[in-house]
């Protein structure tokens, strides 16, 4: 067993991870925060979500669903970005690919960690998913396919580490196809709900895939820069070129998403379509306007676009900064998408008295701690990965 493990932990020509106290302290803090998140989740399961979460009958999905979506979007995106190098042979993407595969595994597990505490009885899933399989349910497909995706990504990672390129390509392609199928099904979880006008339609699955590609680019820029900064490594010209190439690719997806967003807004306002219109006005001029303009549009789209356009090929620090803004902006996109879609009351427009114009939701401290736990787990595994896999640098 130890020989087998040694087989996929690279040594030669790899980077030595930082042994500094600060690095270890960061890992310890992440580990503690992860445990705090898990404790909050277990406590909530024990006393009941109704007593600890901000969710309600009217708004049953809260920040945990948003965080789950954020993590799995990032995972799918990292898988897409890694496949450009490993599966489709774009050499520029090879230096970041291994880290991307590793992080796609870490982020999907972080997503599972968060949603495990959102689902009230996750222990009923293995039995129910098999015995009660509902092939018309997007949630069923999403869960099942993401389960398979995780297996394929882990196998791909092992094959990559062992230098078995033939199998890693097959597994990588399978993982990519399953990941995209799973991810578009996640979009369809929202998009196929006829009673939720803001989500309803083919936009969601399409949007999810494009925004995954963007998330993947932004995330790998962020984590690659972070790895080199945290460990005090100097980036080789090849890796540097790779990061700049990813940034240029991000430009493509940023512009596509801007185009998508512009038309989503126009379609949401034109004709004052009931339900859709109310949700869109919450975003552009209502309670969620700061999230939308500040988070989604400025931090998620425009600023990264402008910074990358100006500094691509020149400054890694600028790209790193753009990726931090992008990560926050993308998180806001997920949050708004999940929450605003539920805020239009079911019987809106029926002149019902003492009935809210808009439902409301605020994340509770317990929910927030679980999200922090998920992010911390992701951070912990990232730091651990850099140390154990020596900067993910065994590509020959």
């Amino acid at each position: 067993m130890s020989n087998y493990i040694a087989g996929f932990i690279p040594r030669d020509g790899s980077l030595q991870g930082s042994r500094s106290a600060a690095y270890s302290l960061a890992m310890a803090v992440m580990a503690v925060l992860t445990l705090v998140g898990i404790a909050s989740g277990v406590y909530s399961l024990y006393v009941g979500h109704e007593h600890t979460f901000g969710i309600s009958r009217e708004v049953p999905w809260g920040v945990l669903i948003a965080a789950y979506v954020f993590f799995v979007v990032t995972s799918t995106g990292l898988c897409i970005v890694s496949s450009l190098g490993h599966v489709f042979g774009y050499k520029e993407f090879l230096p970041i690919a291994k880290r991307a595969v590793y992080l796609s595994i870490v982020t999907i597990i972080s997503g599972f960690l968060v949603i495990a505490f959102e689902i009230e009885n996750s222990w009923r899933m293995p039995y129910g998913n098999v015995v009660g399989a509902n092939l018309s349910s997007n949630i069923w497909w999403m869960g099942t396919l993401y389960g398979a995706y995780l297996v394929f990504m882990i196998l791909e990672f092992i094959m990559l580490q062992r230098g078995n390129h033939k199998y890693s390509i097959i597994l990588g392609l399978s993982g990519l196809l399953i990941g995209i199928a799973a991810h578009s099904n996640l979009g369809a979880v929202f998009g196929l709900l006829g009673g939720r006008e803001y989500w309803h339609g083919p936009y969601m699955p399409i949007y999810f895939i494009v925004s995954a590609a963007l998330s993947g680019c932004i995330a790998i820029i962020f984590f690659t820069c972070m790895a080199y900064k945290a460990n005090g490594w100097k980036m080789s010209p090849v890796t540097k070129h790779s990061v700049h190439t990813v940034a240029r690719t991000a430009i493509l997806f940023l512009s596509t998403l801007m185009f998508f967003t512009i038309w989503k807004v126009i379609a949401g306002l034109t004709g004052v379509i009931p339900g859709k219109y109310q949700a869109m006005t919450m975003l552009i001029s209502g309670d969620y306007a700061v999230n939308f303009w500040g988070g989604e549009v400025a931090m998620g789209l425009i600023l990264p676009f402008v910074i990358i356009m100006i500094y691509k090929g020149k400054s890694l620090n600028a790209l790193f900064f753009a990726s931090i803004l992008g990560m926050i902006g993308i998180y806001m996109m997920r949050y708004d998408l999940v929450i605003v879609g539920q805020l239009v009351p079911h019987f809106h427009g029926m002149r019902i008295l003492n009935y809210p114009e808009q439902f409301s939701y605020t994340p509770s401290i317990y929910e927030s701690l679980i999200v922090v736990g998920g992010i911390a787990f992701c951070g912990f595994m990232f730091l651990l990965g850099e140390r154990v896999f020596y900067g993910h640098l065994s590509e020959k």
Binding site: G48, H49, E50, I55, R57, E58, P60, W61, E118, I119, E120, N121, S122, R124, M125, G128, N129, V131, G132, A133, N134, S136, S137, N138, I139, W140, G143, V189, L192, L193, G194, G195, R196, Q342, H346, F347, M350, R351, I352, L353, N354, Y355
Partner: protein
């Protein structure tokens, strides 16, 4: 006292009425007749059309896929918001304080002096023919009964993902802590119908005959007749979602 009981009371007759009252009544009759006659002559078309009843959301061709095809017809105008239906539901189905299987909403426009014209609208699970909640459930913990069409729940299969709550256009579902599963109206299948009783608790409790329950596939049933009454306006809630609900509302 129920309206049906009022109808059984003995008539006091018209013998004791003063003649002035009779004249007033006749005048009113003539006035009404005159207005209608005049209107008919002016419009030069018939005012009565047997097929003119407005029916929104009733499937064409009277095809009812279930037998018995359980349905509820709500005579909205009769509802006075006494909430006896809600009380009966809570008692019969052990509905906790924080939840509800059925509710009564108030429709109306605010008018001057704080007064408004109100109509009460009972809401419950619509037991849709194409239930969005059933489609989305990953573990078939909720399903459409093949015989009765009732949308039912198997609590022990429910993983609590709450997708059905998000999918339901009618806000008919809630998470019941006590059973760690989603709870919803099942037309009292578990508590009454499966034990041989003929109608849900809310229907039995309603003193004004608002909630009418029955088998739509039976043309002799009260609910079938109500939906096919001449001049009746019949509608369902949120028909645009395509869920084809089985709870109908009518103005008669």
């Amino acid at each position: 006292m129920k309206i049906s009981d009022l109808e059984k009371l003995k008539s006091e007759g018209v013998e004791q009425l003063p003649s002035q009252e009779r004249r007033n009544f006749l005048k009113l009759g003539f006035a009404v007749t005159g207005v209608y006659l005049g209107g008919t002559v002016l419009s030069l078309v018939s005012t009565f059309d047997a097929d003119a009843a407005i029916r929104q959301g009733i499937p064409d061709g009277c095809e009812w896929p279930y037998s018995p095809h359980y349905t509820m017809v709500i005579r909205e105008r009769r509802c006075i918001d006494c909430e006896l239906c809600k009380v009966a539901c809570v008692k019969t189905n052990n509905v906790p304080e924080y939840g509800y299987r059925t509710d009564i909403l108030e429709i109306g426009a605010e008018a001057k002096h704080g007064l408004h014209d109100a109509t009460f609208m009972p809401v419950l699970c619509n037991h849709c023919n194409r239930p969005p909640c059933v489609r989305v459930c990953p573990t078939t913990a909720t399903w459409k009964d093949e015989v009765t069409g009732i949308v039912r729940m198997n609590p022990s299969r429910c993983i609590g993902c709450k997708t059905c709550m998000t999918a339901c256009p009618y806000n008919a579902r809630y998470f019941k802590e006590e059973i760690r599963a989603i709870d919803k109206c099942d037309f009292c299948w578990e508590s009454r119908l499966s034990k041989g009783m003929k109608e849900p608790a809310c229907v039995e409790a309603c003193p004004a005959g608002v909630r009418m329950f029955g088998d739509l596939s039976d043309q002799k049933s009260e609910v079938f007749k109500l939906l096919h009454t001449q001049d009746a306006v019949v509608w369902v809630l949120r028909p645009e979602t395509g869920a084809t609900p089985n709870v109908y509302y009518t103005n008669i």
